[in-house]
Amino acid sequence: MPFASGYFKTSYREDLSLVETRTRRLFLILLSAALVAFPFIASPFLLDLSSQVFLALVGALALMLLTGFAGQISLGHAGFIAAGAYVTAILFKELSAPLWVTLPASGLVGAILGVIFGLPSLRLKGVYLALSTLAMHFIVVYFGAEYESRRDFATGIVIKPPAIGPFTIRDPVTWYFVLLFVAVVALIFSINLVRSRSGRAWVAIRDREVVAEAIGVRVRLYKLSAFVTGAVMTSVSGCLFAYYRGFVSVEAYTLFLTIQYVAMIIIGGLGSILGTILGTIFVVLLPYTIDAAGRALHVPDRLTTYMFAMQYSAFGLIMIIFLVFEPGGLVAIWTRARNYFILWPFRRKAFGRY
């Protein structure tokens, strides 16, 4: 389906290319230039914010692959993040292991957890699967808490900034580029995965499992692979999250974190990579937007203590609004707008999927 008026694919190379049409390439180049130039002009606050977006994007992409494409509901996302963070913290505290040990180790533990907690998905569907992943979250967090209290790190574990060879990632600008790199790698990985054999198999399983099996998709294998892929990406993001914050503590890995990630893919629009990006930006920026709105409206000081509760309620409300009124998410709004302008000023029937 053409993204622009008068653009049709005439060769296989065009069909396979990641960037279609010249305008898109131009925009992509401009966007990359802007992303590279951003840290040199942005304030430290904005820098921190964008690093948070990149970090969250990795986790959100993982959840999108698992839930949006493979159709396996997971409410244990914070558990995978906690697993990555705790593996990093424990290896750092016990063996003072460097980044190039902790990062693969987190990935490995994530993979193991993915297999163990993906196994129920072979038998269970829907609600049951959601509750079994929820159980995983509580069990992982319990082990983390137990480690903290046994080793007397009751207030949390402090992690030193990571070093790769002689370079130490410490200042915000370096962090920005490292996280940007990781996010872009995760993004390209996800895009390519989704349009490859595995991605098509996942979509088939999501849409109709019995038919997928009938046309020769190995359902068990691909369900497990979806869990493992999602879990590895998430735990790696958990490991980076631990290093970026420099601090690991149970309080950070609540059920609310899972819900935030789920909200990202819902608000963005299930089954869309672009939607994941939009949703991640939306959810990460939401609390800060509410804060800024509060300041702009000169909310009296005695009410600022309610700010957190305000953010909480607004978050729930926005999720409800999207679920009830725009189940396709932000990307559906974007697609409608784009379709309107493709042949502007002429109307055309909207087509193209979200």
């Binding site: 609600v127 929820l134 069990i139 808490a145 137990e146 953010q311 909480y312 409300l317």
Partner: protein, 290 residues
């Protein structure tokens, strides 16, 4: 002996909360992840009623229960009605979002301070000695008794009344039921009302027995293992489920560590999902339906 008493009290608390969960699930196949928040709302309603209207326990409990019931109806008519017939995933997520919204509202309206409605009522929560130097608090007994009465009432109502029969019909086959002239929306709303009422009752008792604070929603989370062990669609299954989970929790507290008691119900849940995913008393077909 003390462990047994604690287990019994905790189990009846769980069965109070879990009962609403199963009622909603049986009638509309929606898994309500906001049950903990509905419970906390009950506690806060009680607190408000005690502050504003009556000091006596009985009328204040009654009025707060009516508020809870109304909250349940409102949740259905203003929110869940739009999701009837949508995918189950969307419905679950909406209940999660509802939970977040309610928790935010609780903190906005009542702040996150610790509250003691019992002190405001001016009655004490005495401990009573039982055989074998076990003790139980007054509201522990209240929990047990109200769970018992509630189950008896629900059982009689579902089995022998017109409304109960229709409710079961709606749960069994919504299409046929609606063809037969049963108003689905009213019965779905009723199930939400009952859920909010039973959850709210649990919240009221809990807020009297211990304290009232937004963190009490965590108890609601532990009811998922309870209903899953018993079987999602089985009202009778909640009681053994609650006993098993409460026992696991009591054992974990006494023999491992207090932290382990947070995870123990979920270990039970995982074991159950591996061995018998449809629960002790649930129907196997349920696995395919959701």
């Amino acid at each position: 002996m003390q462990i047994i008493v604690n287990t019994l009290v905790l189990a009846s608390m769980y069965s109070l909360i879990g009962c609403g969960f199963v009622m909603i699930y049986r009638t509309s196949r929606v898994v309500n992840l906001a049950q903990g928040e509905l419970m906390a709302m009950g506690g806060y309603f009680l607190f408000t009623v005690v502050l504003a209207l009556f000091k006596d326990p009985l009328p204040s409990f009654l009025v707060a229960s009516i508020f809870s019931l109304g909250l349940g109806f409102m949740v259905y008519f203003f929110l869940m009605r739009f999701l009837t017939g949508e995918s189950i995933f969307a419905a679950i997520l909406t209940t999660i979002a509802l939970g977040i919204l309610l928790r935010g509202l609780i903190t906005l309206i009542w702040t996150s301070q610790l509250r003691h409605p019992l002190e405001k009522m001016g009655i004490a929560n005495n401990s009573h000695a039982l055989i074998g130097d076990a003790v139980v608090s007054t509201f522990g007994i209240v929990t047990l008794v109200s769970a018992f009465c509630l189950y008896l009432g629900l059982f009689l109502c579902l089995k022998f009344t017109r409304v109960g029969l229709r409710m079961r019909a709606v749960g069994e086959n919504p299409l046929l039921a609606s063809r037969r002239g049963i108003r689905l929306h009213n019965y779905y709303a009723l199930s939400w009302g009952i859920a909010a009422f039973t959850g709210g009752l649990a919240g009221m008792i809990q807020s009297c027995d211990a304290i009232l604070e937004p963190g009490m929603v965590a108890i609601g989370l532990k009811t998922f293992p309870v209903v899953l062990v018993g079987g999602l669609d089985s009202l009778a299954g909640i009681i053994p489920g609650a006993l098993i989970v409460a026992m696991a929790e009591a054992v974990a507290i006494n023999y491992i560590s207090p932290q382990a008691s947070e995870a123990a119900p979920f270990v039970v849940l995982l074991i159950m999902l591996l061995v018998r995913p449809w629960g002790l008393f649930g129907t196997k077909e349920e696995l395919e339906r959701v």
